[in-house]
Each structure stands twice: as C-alpha cells, then as structure tokens.
C-alpha cells in the first residue's frame, strides 16, 4: 500500500463523495415523491388504476440499474424526436441521465415497500378511524400513511443503502463520483488496491452513517411503542 497516492488524491475523492451524496440524496427525494402516489394506486382494486404503476414497478425492480442507466444515457439519443426536442440538453448530460435513472429505480422499490406496509395496516386502526367519522382522505393522511411509513422504515433504510451502492454505476457514464475518483487514481498510478480500497472505505463509512441514522430515526418514530 502506497499511502502517498491516497493522501495526494484525497481532494479528488472528496469531490467524488460530494457527487455521490448529491446523486443519492436527490434521487431518494424524487423517488419518494414518485413512490407515494404509485403505492396508493397499487393498493386500488381497479386494474385500470393499478395496471400502469404495476408495470412500472415490475420493470424497474426486475431489471439491473446499469441497464436502466444505459437505456437513458445511450438509448435516448436513438430517437430523432428526442434529439431535436427541448429536453435533449437534459439527456445530453450524464449527471441528469444518472439522476433520472436512479430516481425511477428507487421510486419503484420504495413504492413496493410502501404498498406492502399499507396492506399491513391493522384493520382496527382503519375501523377506529371510520368510527371517528374520518373521510377517506383524512384516513389516509392521518392514520394509514403515517402508520405505513413507520412500518416501512427498516425496509426503506435498506433501500437507501442499496441506492448508495447502486449509484457507483454513475462512474461508468463518465461521472466522477467516489468510484469515479478511484478509477482515475487506478488509471493514473496503476495501483488498483490503493485506488479501490479508498473508494470502498468511503462507501463503507457512508453505509455505517446511514445505518446509524436510520436506527435513531426508528427509535424516534416508534417511541410510543416502547415499554417504559
């Protein structure tokens, strides 16, 4: 191990860290915004309502993130209409392509997690809400969704970690994220151990931070369920 290589390139890794955090954070936000309505539609009994969201979730959960990214990054340029249109400047940028792919991906996984949590809402809670005279919208807002979010939290924590790990594919489409920094260092110094072990450590620290953060969060959200 040649530590001078690592120390000399630390600023590059820190820049990469920033890109990774941006991509993952923004994708998670967009994914969550996408996931809530998708999950609600999925709980409907009408095939016309759940059909399209179901196809979306099935496709994005059943195919590799790398292929989804390639479909957007390399694939969109195939269509003349997209290349000529006003949205091409977005698809031109690797950053936006990655962000779109990651958002759609995590949106699908999160929707599935939420759907499961909504379906597990105890009947008593819903009956009690009805008995209190709540309308459907109020029921969802006050009872079903908060209760589902709490149940979904552990699974969502895992999804956040999967998204963080999945985001490493951004380095394949020229973005310099944590792994992208490692690839530059490997290529420049021909030192794969130093380069990739450093990248790995950055991801490991982020993973631990996420795990810790979710533990705290879980404890807060389930405070009322704890025995005193």
């Amino acid at each position: 191990m040649d530590f001078t290589i690592i120390l000399d390139n630390l600023p590059l890794y820190v820049q990469g860290l920033w890109i990774t955090i941006q991509l993952v954070f923004l994708a998670l936000c967009a994914g969550l915004v996408l996931a809530v309505p998708t999950a609600l539609l999925l709980t409907s009994k009408n095939p016309l309502v759940w059909g399209l969201p179901y196809a979306y979730v099935y496709f994005f959960r059943g195919t590799p993130l790398l292929v989804q990214l390639f479909l957007i990054y390399h694939g969109m340029g195939q269509f003349e209409t997209i290349r000529e249109s006003f949205i091409w400047p977005i698809f031109r940028e690797a950053y936006w392509c990655a962000l779109i792919a990651f958002s759609l991906n995590t949106g699908a996984y999160t929707a599935e997690i939420l759907r499961g949590a909504i379906n597990q809402t105890p009947w008593g809670e819903i009956e009690a809400a009805k008995a209190c005279g709540m309308r459907k919208v109020t029921r969802y807002r006050r009872i079903i969704l908060p209760s589902a979010f709490r149940r979904a939290l552990p699974a969502y924590g895992n999804e956040v970690i999967f998204m963080l790990h999945g985001s490493a594919v951004a380095s394949i489409v020229t973005l310099v994220d944590i792994l992208g920094a490692g690839r530059i260092v490997n290529a420049r110094y021909f030192a794969p151990w130093e380069a990739y072990v450093t990248s790995g450590l950055f991801y490991l620290c982020l993973t631990f931070a996420i795990v810790y953060f979710f533990k705290l969060w879980e404890r807060r959200w389930s405070a009322h369920l704890r025995t005193r």
């Binding site: 099935y58 496709f59 059943g62 195919t63 590799p64 993130l65 790398l66 292929v67 989804q68 390639f70 479909l71 390399h74 694939g75 969109m76 340029g77 195939q78 269509f79 963080l164 790990h165 999945g166 985001s167 490493a168 594919v169 380095s171 394949i172 792994l179 490692g182 690839r183 490997n186 794969p192 151990w193 990739y196 072990v197 990248s199 790995g200 991801y203 490991l204 993973t207 631990f208």
Partner: protein, 228 residues
Amino acid sequence: MQNAIDFMPFILTGALVTVQLALASVALAIVLGMLGATAKLSGSLALRSVAGVYTTVIRGIPDLVLMLLIFYGGQIAVNEIGHSLGLAYIEIDPFTAGTLTIGFIFGAYMTESFRGGILAVPRGEIEAGRAFGMSAVLVFRRITLPQMVRHALPSFGNNWLVLVKTTALVSVIGLQDMVFRAGQAGGSTRQPFTFYLVVALIYLLITAVSQVALSKAERRFNVGVRTE
C-alpha cells in the same frame, strides 16, 4: 446500418453467458454462505469474528467496487503469490473473476439467510436427534438441513433475484454477457435503445421463470407443514 434482428443470436449468446455466470456464482455463494453461517453459529470467537467482518464489509461496499478490486487487484495479488511460489502466470479471465466476485459478495448475503434458517430450527428437535444417538453430521443432514432450507428459501430466492441483476456489472470488466453485447450491437446499428430494451426484457423473463421455480420449491419444502 445492419438490421437489429440479425444481432439477436449475438445477444442470445450473451444471455447464455449471463445465465451461466449467475448459476456458477450462486453455487459458490451457497458454499460460502454455509461456511459463513456455520462460522457465525460456532463456539469459536475467532471464526465468529472472521465471519462478522466478512458479512459487514461486503454488505457495506458496492458490488462494482468489489468487482474492480478483485478483478484488477486480485490479479496482482494472485500472481505475486504465485510467482513467489515459483508458479507461472495464473490467468484470471473475466468469467472466473466475475464468478469469484459475485459468489464472494452473495456468500455474505447467503450467510445471513442460512444463519436465520438454522436458528429457526427448534432446538428441541436437534436435542431429540442427539438423544437418539445420531452423530452431528446425521443431525445436520436429517434434521437441520431440510428445515433450514424451508426457512431460508424466501430470503435465498430474494438474494438470487438480486444476484441475477448484479451479473450486469461484469460487462464493465469486459466479460461478454448480454449487456456488453447490447452495447456493441447498439453501437454498430445506432439503435442502443432497442438492444438495451431487449436485454431488459430477457432479465424480466429470467426473473419470472425464477419466481415460478422458487414458489414451486417453497411449496415442495413446505409439504410437511400444515398450514391450517
């Protein structure tokens, strides 16, 4: 400009590589998972610590980082050792590297699945087996294993589905799987979207077939358990 249909055999050959890689990797992952689970449940502190580090580190670092580390770094390490032992060059081709990496990664996930499965076997049954004078091996074969399979199957199935998608990453280290080939075909026909979509659909097909097989297996292993 060549016709997209002409490239289908080319893509299908790649699909075969994907399936072979997934099967070879899962075989290795099962072996490592069994070893890991045994180590985690063993009385030896040293074994438990090694297994603990293995599962924590692997699950904290993205697959792609590990893959690059093993493919580039592992090649150097293996040949440094090999050379000092007076051996000639040991070739790590992308298929072997891919199998080793994916097997190694999913060995960690399987360790957790199998550990859970073993813990779910009632202690009394194992004690009863010992009381009958069965040897440890016989207890494992007749009592622990069949029940462990039943308990571990759902999470094993989950891991398998994730593993299949992870194989897409080997295209980055130059293995000619279907993602790699879709890139080549997409480049020469200027129709990348078409080919990545085809590859995505093949992944969905593999997923669907796996799900049918897994649910059959689950039913088979649950035959002895009354559900009502």
